[in-house]
């Protein structure tokens, strides 16, 4: 090492001084970092289980997620008044029409924008749900005009179809990723990545339940993106493990893993950071339509970054225990 460096410095005579000094970089994670991630894997696994169970408990206690009309079927009218109108008044206005399962939700603090939902409608020509909601509001607030921002009506059949294809998509994505990694690396890494993905999806679902955010089609799209991101992150670490396994044939798998995670830690944090910042900006400024979409991605990316360090590799290690290291 030392020989090589001074040799190079001689060739580059005009910059000899600079070359001799060890390079310095502006770093968040110092290169000498050596956290023993593998040793604390059991603790992290317990923390993950606790998080998953809290999330599942929340879903169970609330009797399922807060499904948007994409999945539950029904009608949504999103409107904005010219002047502020009280929530209770809007609720009375809509309930006066005798619609089923009415939910009135204010958007923003101004009491001007509302999302009004009913569990009926969406199917058939004679469906009047959206019209009734508008009529009710118009009658109640005669001198306050409003503007329709959005109307969505989804029939029960479409809701069921969407639900099935959404579940299928997340599952297909997870399995496809697992297969790709199993081919590119080996079977255990594939399993590790798939388990990490499942972990991320479960914890993110729990967070959606706890925050009571709406679970609709865009949320599923966000979940799929989280799946892609989580695997992406896992792959980079796995790639380094593979490379280091070739170089260091004597070391145990645990040591190699730990080294690899530490070596790629800087990248993990920075890429995770920029991606999370981008989604945080969307969450902050993206508006009500993509609120739960942005939240799901932001939260999922955080969990995804965590899981590629603490979940994916330890799983490989657990699988390794029985079958002795081949490489």
């Amino acid at each position: 090492m030392k020989e090589g460096r001074s040799g190079m410095a001689r060739r580059a005579s005009e910059q000899a001084e600079a070359a001799k000094a060890p390079p310095r970089f502006f770093q968040l994670i110092p290169p000498t970092v050596n956290i023993n991630f593998i040793r604390i894997r059991l603790r992290m696994l317990i923390i993950s289980w606790i998080l998953i169970l809290i999330g599942l408990a929340s879903i169970w206690m609330k009797g399922g997620l807060n499904y948007g009309i994409d999945f539950s079927g029904g009608t949504l009218v999103h409107l904005r008044f010219a002047q502020a109108a009280p929530v209770s008044g809007v609720r009375d206005a809509v309930e006066s029409k005798g619609l089923e399962g009415v939910v009135v939700q204010a958007v923003g603090p101004e009491e001007r924008e509302y999302q009004i939902r009913a569990t009926t409608g969406g199917e058939g020509e004679s469906d009047q749900t959206a019209a009734l909601i508008q009529a009710g509001v118009r009658e109640k607030f005669a001198e306050n005009t409003f503007e329709i921002l959005r109307i969505e009506a989804v029939g029960p059949k479409v809701g069921r179809d969407l639900w099935r294809s959404a579940a299928l998509a997340v599952l297909a994505a997870t399995v496809m990723m697992g297969i790709y990694i199993a081919i590119r690396f080996d079977f255990r890494f594939g399993v590790g990545a798939a388990v990490a993905v499942l972990h991320d999806v479960l914890i993110t679902l729990g967070a959606i339940s706890i925050t009571n955010l709406e679970f609709d089609l865009t949320t599923v799209a966000a979940l799929l993106t989280v799946v892609g991101y989580s695997v992406n992150d896992t792959v980079v670490i796995s790639d380094r493990i593979r490379e280091n396994l070739r170089k260091m044939r004597r070391e145990s798998l645990a040591t190699v893993m730990n080294l690899s995670i530490n070596e790629t830690l800087s990248r993990t944090v920075i890429t995770g950071g920029t991606a999370i910042i981008a989604t945080a900006v969307l969450f902050w400024l993206g508006g009500p339509v993509i609120h739960s979409f942005a939240f799901t991605m932001m939260f999922g990316f955080i969990v995804g970054t965590y899981s590629s360090i603490f979940i994916a590799s330890p799983i490989v290690l657990y699988l390794e225990r029985d079958t002795r290291r081949k490489t």
């Binding site: 020509e125 989804v154 479409v158 992406n232 950071g273 910042i277 981008a278």
Partner: protein
């Protein structure tokens, strides 16, 4: 390829992208500008209505069986196999023969004459019935036909309705998607598209046989229509249909002055003219009911035989109602009922709001990422930033070039791509740092950095791409926009963040001795 050539290529690409984007950014674009098409915006951004209809294709199959009843009767009559009664029962036709000895003969005749579409099915032992069902290919043909016809009819109706850039598309085996940009009140469009528009001419029942509305006589049904006061009014109507709307060749708003609303004039073809003439001649003085989708539009008294093949429908229509009625009569009845399954309407102000929010998010994500990279990786970060700007340019340019639709999730996808695109650069730059720390020269560290980071970059991008493709498969509308953005973003970021930055390093190091690299 030499770095300078690649530079030229990159600059050409960038120039092309800018040319493509001008119509989107500068509106209106100058006359002489070579590219006219602005980026297509999804309904969630420009506002409009998205409707999903299911075509009841099984109803079309039933209707075909009903029509076949008379065909079968004719075949049996011509074959002279004795008396037979034919009727539809569910998805089958049953023929009951008076003379059971003719059974095999009937089966033979049926096979010869209608074998292509009807196939004999096992009959119940009792009653000596012959049971026929449609052949599977025939059922499939009827279903496909019904969907295809419905699609065409809806397309014609929408075209005459007058919406800019409507989309009418088949989806799946029996669904039709209709997208109407800029429509804020979808009610009228919905009733125009969804109505079957089955026009029937029937006689109003008269005399003691007609019965009452509570207890109509045999062969009589109660249908409702709007009375003179506009209230719902029952009519006693004969079940037998004299004529249906398929003989209508044209329908226009009435030119004459009508006191009660607007009327619609219609013209009949030769067959219809004769049928109409015969029917009116036989029923002078009685009332003819014009029934549209089971509702009596009007029931005028026949004063004299109508032989000119022209008629008029009055029904206290508003101008718009009459306009839509003329439209649907001209374009014909749907072969099967449609069922609205999903509706999504976005108002124009929400669309504007979404565009604004999306652009601000993209702007902030870009600035934060660029500043961060420049501070953290200095020279290397700046090079990555240049690549990032090109990446965004190419990504949006691709949208313009291929006419992809940009949705709100698509805008979010661009913001996300900016956050993720630097990943390849981060991988390379971290690697270069490692190699430098290990004591390599600047040039060698750059080479090794790119070479060693490549496997990780490829694998991580392939997996992200797979999730994008699955997302595209699964999603519809706006979500597809997101999936397209993600996948395109991966491709353009590979191009710019890997080959693009490499090119810049090559340009910087070719022909001179480089001993330091700023990372």
């Amino acid at each position: 390829m030499k770095a300078t050539y690649r530079l030229v290529l990159a600059l050409v690409f960038a120039a092309v992208s800018i040319v493509l984007l001008v119509p989107t950014l500068v509106q209106p674009a100058p006359e002489w500008w070579p590219w006219k098409q602005a980026i297509r915006l999804g309904l969630d951004l420009k506002g409009g209505t998205h409707l999903l209809y299911g075509v009841d294709v099984d109803a079309a199959v039933d209707a075909t069986l009903d029509r076949l009843v008379t065909d079968v009767e004719r075949v049996l009559r011509e074959a002279q196999v004795g008396a037979a009664t034919v009727e539809r029962q569910g998805k089958t036709l049953t023929a009951k023969l008076a003379n059971q000895d003719k059974r095999t003969q009937v089966a033979d005749v049926m096979r010869q004459q209608l074998g292509a579409i009807l196939v004999e099915q096992p009959a119940p032992d009792t009653g000596g019935l012959l049971v026929y069902g449609l052949t599977p290919p025939e059922v499939q043909r009827i279903r496909d036909n019904a969907r295809e016809q419905a699609l065409q009819i809806i397309r014609n109706r929408i075209d005459e309705f007058g919406v800019a850039e409507p989309v009418v598309q088949a989806q799946g085996s029996s669904e039709i998607v209709v997208q109407l940009p800029g429509i804020q009140d979808p009610q009228r469009a919905k009733s125009l598209i969804g109505r079957t528009a089955l026009l029937e001419f029937k006689m109003v029942a008269q005399g003691p046989d007609a019965g009452t509305t509570d207890k109509p006589g045999p062969g009589i049904q109660v249908l409702y229509g709007r009375g003179p006061s506009g209230a719902r009014e029952p009519y006693l109507i004969q079940r037998r249909t004299l004529m249906t709307g398929d003989v209508v060749t044209d329908a226009r708003l009435s030119q004459g002055s009508i006191t009660e609303g607007t009327a619609v004039d219609f013209t009949l073809d030769a067959r219809g003219t004769k049928q109409f003439g015969d029917a009116t001649r036989a029923n002078v003085g009685r009332n003819l009911a014009i029934v549209l989708d089971g509702i009596v539009a009007s029931a005028p008294t026949i004063r004299e035989p109508i032989t000119g093949g022209r008629g008029q429908i009055t029904g206290r229509f508003t101008f718009e109602e009459a306009q839509d009625l003329a439209n649907v009569l001209r374009n014909g009845a749907l072969p099967a009922p449609l069922k609205l399954m999903e509706e999504r309407t976005v108002g124009p102000s929400l669309g504007q709001d979404s565009i604004r929010r999306g652009l601000i998010s993209i702007g902030i994500a870009t600035i934060v990422t660029i500043v961060f990279m420049a501070i953290y990786y200095r020279g290397g970060g700046l090079i990555a930033d240049v690549a990032l700007v090109f990446n965004v340019l190419f990504l949006i340019g691709t949208f313009a070039a291929f006419g992809f639709t940009l949705s709100l999730p698509g805008l979010a996808g661009i913001a996300l791509t900016i956050g993720m695109a630097v990943d390849a650069n981060v991988l390379v730059l971290e690697r270069i740092r490692e190699e430098l720390t290990a004591g390599k020269s600047a040039r060698a560290a750059i080479d090794a950095g790119y070479e060693r980071a490549w496997a990780a970059i490829l694998d991580s991008n392939v997996t992200a791409f797979i999730s994008g493709v699955i997302l595209f498969q699964f999603g519809s509308g706006p979500i597809r926009g997101f999936a397209v953005t993600l996948c395109l973003g991966i491709l353009t970021s590979l191009l710019t963040a890997v080959w693009g930055t490499r090119m810049i390093y090559d340009l910087m190091t070719t022909g001179r001795r480089v001993t330091t690299v700023s990372v």
